[in-house]
Structures are given as C-alpha cells and as structure tokens.
C-alpha cells in the first residue's frame, strides 16, 4: 500500500509537471491542424521558446516577460512555416521538419551563453498546503502555467464553437472549396492559425526552461513537439480532450521515474510507449478504408 501510494503521488506530481508543455504544444498543433495544415515544426518552436524565455528571464529578471517573448518568438517561427506553405506545391510535412531543424539550430546557436547562468524561475502555487506530508506538498507545487494551459484549452474550445473567426478557421480546415466560395482568405487564415499555434507551443517551451526541468540546455526537449501530432489524434482535434491527452501522456512519461522511487528500475520504457500504442489502437479502431477519422479536419494532408 505504501509503495503504491508513493508511486501514485509521484505519478500525479510528474503528470502535473510533465503535462504542461504537452498541453500547450498539443493546443497549438490542434489550432494549426483545424485550419487544415500540419506543423511538425513545433518541436523547433518548443526548443526556441525555451531558450528565448530563459535568456529573457535572465536579462530582465522577470520570468513572465520571458514567457511572453517565447510566445512571440514561436509565433514568428510559425509564421515562417505558414508563409512558405502558402506557396503552391510546398509540402507542409517536409516544411515542418525543416522548421524543426532551423528552430533547434537557432536556439542552440544563440543559447550557448545561457547554459551556465541561473535565471529566475516561474513561481509555483503551493496547492498542497493542507497536507502534512512533504511528498504530497512538493507533488502539488503546480506551476501557474498549467492553469493558463487549462484556461487556453477552454478558450480555444469556445473559440472554435462560438466565435465567427473560429468558424472561419474550421471552414478553411474542413473544405477549401467552401472557404473559397465564401470568399475567405485561405492562406491568410492558415498563416494566422499556424502563427498562433506556434505561439502556444512557444509558451510550452518557456515552461520547460523556467519551471520544469527548469534550466536551459540542449537536451531539454525530449520530442514533445513532434509527439503533439499523436496527442492531437488522441484528442480527436478537440481542445478540451487535449487536456486529457496531455495528462495521460504526461503520466505515462512520469511513471518510469516514479517507479524508480520505489526501486522498480526495469520495464518503464514500455510504459512510456503505452500512450503511443493507445493512439495507434484508436487510429486502427476508428478509421475504415474510405472514411476518415471523426473530428479530423477535411483539408488536412495527413487525412487523405
């Protein structure tokens, strides 16, 4: 019982920490994909966001300005993807990988001097104040960015469902023909959706360097930006489900380290792979030949 309790607490703690970047990146990817494009470049955006946030926090002393600048940097990189993909015959999947490389390259290039210095971190909310157990207290030290992410998910859901611009994004994502008939600027809307989505991903990067793990180095991201594509499939392109997806993927990633706390050191890589297997099963179970996944935007190149 004691061991199970320890693992559970460690897992919840891990999930709360690890899921935040997943949440932001998957929300960003969700927004981009709902407009009909896929952006694999969010991996690069994440790393660039982490570096920019850390450097800004170091120079200004305010981590929140760092978060803001990371969002702007992400949006800039995202708009490069959006702009180039607006040209005819440019493949968005390949462009995403180019952006991924360029983003990490730029981040490592300018980030060299910031590996050593210590930058002010984001504060954490002590939600475990009611508990006497130190492990529970430290487990419930939740970053405010987690709640920002929750709010962003709800806001994005509302945006898609109830706003005029959200409807336009959905139209552009579901049928370019319909959008053209309505006189909507398809490329402009997709560019803005990609830029905004990458802005969200940039905030996810800021979390990595300013909250958890909480430092800047070149091994900071473990591929969360690419995984976002799987998360969005898992969430069926629904921003609210992105929260669940982020928590599940986060918990699966946290299982390994938390099992280590009770002495289990083997086999956790398989748990780590579990959410991917589930994603694959979801894909296999819900797609039939000639019919695409429910909730998938019709214009998405990966949906055909």
């Amino acid at each position: 019982m004691d061991a199970i309790g320890t693992v559970l607490v460690a897992m919840i703690a891990g999930a709360l920490r690890v899921s935040t970047p997943f949440l932001f990146v998957s929300l960003g990817e969700c927004l981009t994909e709902r407009s009909g494009r896929i952006n694999l470049g969010n991996e690069g955006v994440l790393v660039l966001g982490a570096m920019v946030a850390y450097a800004t926090s170091y120079h200004t002393g305010s981590p929140w300005i760092g978060v803001l600048v990371a969002a702007v940097a992400g949006a800039l990189l995202g708009s490069l993807h959006g702009a180039v993909c607006s040209l005819a015959r440019v493949n968005d999947v390949a462009m995403g990988i180019a952006i991924m490389l360029a983003g990490t390259g730029i981040a490592f290039f300018f980030g060299k001097p910031y590996v050593q210095p210590e930058a002010p971190h984001l504060p954490a909310l002590p939600l475990g104040f009611w508990s006497g157990t130190p492990s529970v207290r430290s487990a419930l030290e939740v970053s405010p960015l987690f709640f920002v992410g929750l709010a962003a998910a709800v806001a994005l859901h509302w945006f898609f469902r109830s706003t005029r611009i959200g409807l336009r994004v959905r139209i552009v994502g579901d049928s370019a023909d319909a959008a053209r008939a309505l006189g909507l600027g398809i490329d402009r809307i997709r560019l803005l959706a990609t830029a905004a989505g990458s802005g969200l991903a940039g905030i996810g990067g800021a979390f990595l360097s300013l909250s958890y793990p909480g430092s800047w180095n070149e091994g900071l991201s473990s591929g969360q930006g690419l995984m976002a594509v799987a998360l969005v499939v898992f969430a069926r392109w629904n921003p609210l489900h992105c929260i669940t997806a982020a928590l599940i993927f986060g918990a699966a990633g946290a299982l390994g380290p938390s099992l280590q706390t009770v002495g289990v050191t083997k086999g956790y890589y398989l748990f780590y792979a579990a959410p991917y297997v589930v994603t694959l099963v979801i894909l296999a179970a819900t797609v039939r030949p000639g019919r695409s996944l429910r909730g998938m935007p019709g214009e998405l190149s990966i949906g055909r």
């Binding site: 999947v93 490389l101 360029a102 694959l280 894909l283 949906g303």
Partner: protein, 371 residues
C-alpha cells in the same frame, strides 16, 4: 493519397509532352538542377547576411566550410562517413513516396535494424566474419523492413494515415529499443551509457578495400542506384508511379495497390534498417543510444530535397554530410557554436523546399507546341 502529385518526384516521371518538343527533355532536366542550385545560392546569401549581422566574415566561413568538407582526404572521408547513413534513410522516404506516401518514421527502423543486427551477431561470435556480417545485414534490413511494413499494412488494409502511424511507430520502436538495451540485452559493464554486448572486433566492417572510405557509402550508393532502376526502369516501379500519380486509375487498371504499398514500405524500411546495421557494424560496434542520432529525420529532408529521386539523393547526402563535417573546423577557427551548421542547414532546407513552388512556373523550361 490525393496529395500524391505533390509528393511524387518530378524527376522520376518522364516528361509526357516530349514527343512534340525535341529539346524539352534537356530543358526539363536542366530545370530540376537549376531550381535547387538557385535555392542553394539564395540560402548561402541569406546565411552570409546572418553572419555579417553577427560580425563574422562570410568568405572565411565558406572557405573553411570547403576546407572542412571536401578539400583534404581526411575531411572528405569525414563527409562521406556522415553521408552514408543518410543515403539509406532518405530511400526509406523516397521509395514509398513514389506511391504518394509520406513516411516519417525511418528513425524507428534505423534503431531496430541496428539492434537486430547486434542481436544476431552475439551468438554467432567466433564464426567466419563475412558470414556474421551478412547475417547482420539480413537481420537489420529485415527488422527495418518489418517495422515500416506495419505502417504499410495499416495504410493498405485499414486506410490509416501513414504519416501519423509511422511517427507513432517510431516512438514505439525507440521505446522498445531503450527497453531492450537498458534491460534484457544490456552489457552490465556499460555503466554510464547502457549498451548491448559488443559484436566483436573481428566482425566490424572495415573501410572499403584500398581506401579509407566508410563501407556504408558503397552500400548506400548501390541501394540508391538499385532503387532508381526499380522505380524508373521496371514495370513494378511504373505501377508504383501510376498508383502515386492517380490512385483511381491504378485501381481501374487492376494494379495490386495494397501489395504495392506494402512492398514499397518493405523496401524503404529495409534500407533504413540496413543504415542501422552499418552504423553498428562500422562505427559503434554495439547497439546504444548513439544510434538515435536523427538520421531518420535528416533522411526525410534529403528525400524531399532530392524530389524523391533516388539518384539525386547521392549528391544531396554528400552535401549535407559535408556541411556536418565542416562543423568542427568552423567551431575551432571562427569561434562559432557547433549549432552553426544546423542553422545553415535550416536556411538551405527552407529555401529549397520553398523553391518547389517555382517548378513549372518559368515558361522557358516548359514544353513548346513544336520543337
């Protein structure tokens, strides 16, 4: 798969209107060379501006880059060694792309191919080395082929998108690799960096006879040529290109589309698995995290830069290998961070991918009514 036309390489599909215009094939070939070259030049100019802003000399930079990549035997060896795995991982993208498939999970096939090659070599230790090496190559290629074929099966039988499936499978493959290398297959002596037992020095692939060249280079170049022949000179390759060009037409012709998809994935995955085997047999001598080096992802870009033409993969891989090889020299001589080459690669990729849009837009390159 209606995005097929976008993915399908122009270079492998023969010009249709050539009959009326004698010089069109030549102009068409010229276009597919001039486009990427112009994009390269543009990215070099863009990067020079970047360097000037940072107060570094672009002429020094490119001179050093030439020196570090191609000027001496040593640097050329380094370049070709880096190019070798890329040749094979790019084929993992380019072959399925003939059918309009975008496979981005080559990384999983590389690591599992490397692992399978190591596993088969362990019990064979002490046998005649060439035999062990052949067994390793077969095991590596089979593991990679099997892994990518899962994606092909899911695509062909269930209509699951191959891009997402291959990406997810790459993560599963890497997790499986980590699990096996850090668990059941781990050599207890490898403390800091969990590894499997070594394949034994006798079983390592040496340089190509009479040279210092990386053995993977020969394998890669041969594989590229074979794939090119398959795609552009055989009826099988023609069926693949028909399927990629127009799925409905292929089905109406009675082409075995599902089997073609799986076959293309088997070939591509086999190449990527072979890349993993060669990395183990020629460089690392054992399977460990060094195999997860991003060769699979670099291969995707090279395939797109080559417009999915297996022959064009050869110069593109050498170019990228050269840029990577020059990194060390640039770092020492110009005091630039090691990520500089990555930034340059980013510039090049964006420029070349964007240049795709110019294809077919310049009138001079287009077929004329009468030749």
């Amino acid at each position: 798969m209606s995005s097929a036309a976008q993915v399908q390489g122009q270079a492998t599909s023969s010009p249709a209107t050539a009959a009326t215009d004698r010089f069109y094939p030549a102009r068409w070939a010229l276009e597919s060379v001039v486009g990427p070259l112009a994009a390269l030049l543009l990215s070099a100019i863009g990067f020079s501006v970047f360097l000037l802003v940072l107060g570094k000399s672009p002429t020094d930079f490119f001179a050093l880059m030439w020196k570090g990549a191609f000027a001496s035997t040593f640097s050329l060896d380094n370049t070709l060694q880096r190019a070798a795995p890329l040749l094979l991982t790019a084929l993992c993208v380019a072959v399925p792309a003939q059918l309009g498939l975008v496979i981005i999970g080559g990384e999983g096939a590389v690591v599992l191919g490397g692992l399978a090659a190591t596993v088969i070599a362990l019990p064979l230790n002490g046998a005649w080395p060439p035999l062990v090496q052949v067994a390793m190559a077969i095991a590596g290629a089979a593991a990679g082929a099997g892994w990518i074929a899962i994606t092909g099966l899911l695509r062909a039988r269930r209509g699951i998108n191959e891009t997402v499936a291959s990406l997810v499978l790459a993560y599963i493959g890497i997790a499986l690799f980590n699990h096996l290398v850090e668990g059941p297959l781990r050599d207890p002596a490898s403390l800091n960096k969990p590894s499997t037992y070594g394949i034994g020095d006798a079983n390592m692939l040496g340089p190509l006879p009479g040279t210092d060249l990386h053995p993977g280079l020969a394998v890669g170049v041969v594989a590229c040529i074979l794939c090119w022949v398959l795609i552009s000179r055989t009826s099988l390759g023609f069926s693949m290109r028909v399927t990629g060009g127009n799925l409905r037409a292929a089905q109406l012709q009675g082409l075995p589309v599902q089997r073609l998809i799986i076959l293309a994935c088997l070939i591509g995955g086999g190449c990527a698995g072979l890349a993993g085997m060669i990395e183990v047999a020629a460089v690392h001598g054992r399977a460990n995290a060094s195999l997860i080096a991003g060769y699979g992802y670099a291969g995707i870009l090279i395939a797109f830069l080559s417009r999915q033409n297996p022959l064009a993969i050869i110069p593109m891989s050498v170019l990228l290998g050269g840029i990577g090889a020059a990194g060390g020299l640039l770092q020492r001589r110009m005091d630039l961070p090691d990520a500089t080459v990555q930034v340059l690669e980013g510039f090049i990729f964006v420029a070349i991918l964007a240049s795709e849009t110019m294809q077919g837009r310049i009138a001079w390159f287009q077929p004329r009514a009468r030749g």
